[in-house]
């Protein structure tokens, strides 16, 4: 048998100029990183440029000094109150989505009959989109919806409970659309934890509560922090459901809505940009706090496949 191996063309080319590749490798540069260039360009053009444009716009109001737009926003409680309104919606919604996902994902780690179907049912809301969810909420939770009808037929209440066109409508919408997202992330974090660890804890005398508290939870915590951040950002930029199932003039006038009104109803682009910057700053502060807490946790290997 012949021992000669046919060289594939790519291999032959590499063999010809090992010099450049090695010189780059010595400097810690992998030539394949050049493949990232299109993606970097994309980010610069579609994110960095508009961001910087908006940033300078926020400091260039039509009237007044460079900070006039920020002054206008913070001095008007109707405007600055939107920060609190948005936080009051996004923080609890993100928290509930993360907390509700944990026990469900925990039960669904292993493989069992019907797991795929159950996952689909849990994930479907993410595919429906906000508008369809809002419509469903109006039909179901509205004053003449099934929920109130049933409660009234049972005689539990005399007047319909108001659950849409106010804070609760938007809150439910955020929970419904945000849950699948948090659930899928947490499920993947959980399956990254080696199940043998819990078995080991069991042979050491830990019951299921102790196993969860001392083994699973500490290993999952960094994942929970990340999931919370992403779920929060998703909820914080709420816009359609605040209009459709909320009370956009009052208790659910969120930051995104305020920015929209500044830009397209008052045509004050500088103020709109300033609001967008405030929005970004608040998000960064919340994420910063969570990540600061996360950095104090164990974030190494969790022994599993993830």
């Amino acid at each position: 048998m012949s021992l000669t191996v046919e060289r594939v063309p790519g291999e032959a080319r590499q063999a010809q100029d090992p010099g450049l590749r090695h010189r780059l490798a010595e400097r810690g540069i992998d030539r394949q990183l050049l493949l990232l260039v299109p993606a970097v360009l994309f980010v610069v053009l579609l994110f960095l440029y508009p961001f910087l444009y908006g940033l300078q716009l926020s400091f260039a109001p039509d009237e007044g000094g460079p900070l006039a737009s920020y002054q206008a926003f913070f001095s008007d409680p109707y405007q600055s109150g939107t920060i609190w309104i948005t936080l009051k919606l996004a923080l609890p919604a993100a928290l509930i989505n993360v907390l509700a996902s944990v026990p469900i994902a925990y039960r669904m780690r292993g493989s069992f009959r019907g797991k795929r179907l159950l996952t689909i049912v849990l994930v479907v809301p993410i595919t429906l989109g906000t508008v369809l969810t809002a419509q469903g909420l109006l039909n179901y939770l509205g004053p003449a919806g099934w929920f109130n009808k049933i409660l009234m037929t049972l005689g539990l209440i005399d007047d319909p409970v108001r659950l849409v066109n106010n804070y609760w409508g938007v809150f439910f919408s955020l929970v419904i659309t945000g849950f699948p997202f948090a659930f899928l992330l947490i499920l993947s974090y959980l399956s990254g934890i080696d199940p043998t660890l819990e078995r080991a804890a069991a042979t050491l005398g830990a019951d299921w509560r102790q196993r969860f508290r001392h083994i699973t939870l500490p290993l999952l915590a960094p994942g929970l922090a990340t999931t919370f951040c992403l779920a929060f950002v998703l909820a914080f930029s709420v816009f359609p459901s605040a209009v459709l199932v909320g009370n956009p003039a009052g208790e659910t006038r969120v930051l995104a809505l305020a920015a929209y009104q500044a830009a397209y109803e008052q045509y004050d682009y500088s103020l709109a940009s300033a609001i967008a910057m405030v929005m970004g700053a608040v998000e960064l502060i919340v994420i910063g706090v969570v990540l600061l807490w996360r950095s104090r946790l164990y974030t190494g290997s969790t022994g599993g496949k993830g």
Binding site: T203, L204, G205, G303
Partner: protein, 377 residues
Amino acid sequence: MTEGAFTELRLDGVGRRFAGKDALVDLDLTIRAGEFIALLGPSGCGKSTALNCLAGLLPLTAGSIWQQGPDGERRIDTLPPEKRGFGMVFQSYALFPHMSVRRNISFGLQMRRLARAEVARRTTEAIRLVQLEEHADKLPGQLSGGQQQRVAIARAVVLEPSLVLMDEPLSNLDAKLRLEMRSEIRRLHQSLGLTTVYVTHDQEEALSLADRLVVLRQGRVQQIGTSEELHTRPANWHVADFMGFRNIVEVDATHVDGTDVVVQGEGLRLRGTATAPTAVGDRVVAAVRPEDVLVGAGTDGADGPNATPATVEVVGYQGRELAVEVRTAAGRALHLRTEQRLAPGDAVTLTVDPERLLVYPLAAGEHVPAPLVAAVP
């Protein structure tokens, strides 16, 4: 902790099925306190299943497990793992990656809500036992494989469990470390007197460690015995095959005189010792260890028992000895070990003491698999 101490642990017809397939069938075994038992077999033989059933990590689908203590017999297969009080060492070690060595080892003591001072004292003692004093505050990820293994062992024995279960604990270590840890485990067993059930697929490891071995194949017990019994008298040809009888030949019995048998097949005519009643004409298996095949060069030794001419084909250096593969005139490959310096192409005459050539019955329809490498033309 001596609350779960037992004088005897009895497995009574233990079985486990997975999705309609038997992984373990009808395992009867009595483990006496202080004993070191090895469950031995090729992968998929059910040895790990048996261990997990004992630990309570897998529910049984048949049978029961009983613990004979000072206050009578108690059924334990219905208890969850955390209530059994057995220690377990996992193949992957399963150290808690977010806890220091000290916290890993003290975890079990803390779960038992022992006094803080006692937890600290026993943990320190266990760390000293496995010689990890200077690594006590490191995370498992910062330790070498051997050190992790020692943490896993310390974590299991610090509770002074009535039974320690070990699931192939050495299989992830390199050869040198494996030998060191092997004697370490034996030393721990001797000094602490811990009853141990040890799962392995390495027959050498099992023979050197255990007081008694349980050989499993396809979920069924093949033989239970001491190392000596298994080494010299395997119960059937499957066990012989697994215990290092590398020369296994399917032949016919042509002469039977009590246990003295003559067999013929594959161009060989051999005298051996029957392990079970055999009749002339029976299809049987002749098994012999490589170290029991003796070599006379050329035609010397042609008068020896079972003299068979052969040609050396492959020679592997093993230090004092050579591992040699020869081929008979009829084309049958045989393995032997010798201190003679043979080279490929040498003509040799093989002899085998009939006492060392064991003849096993072959079940109807059963066949010895053909050797892996066919003759080179």
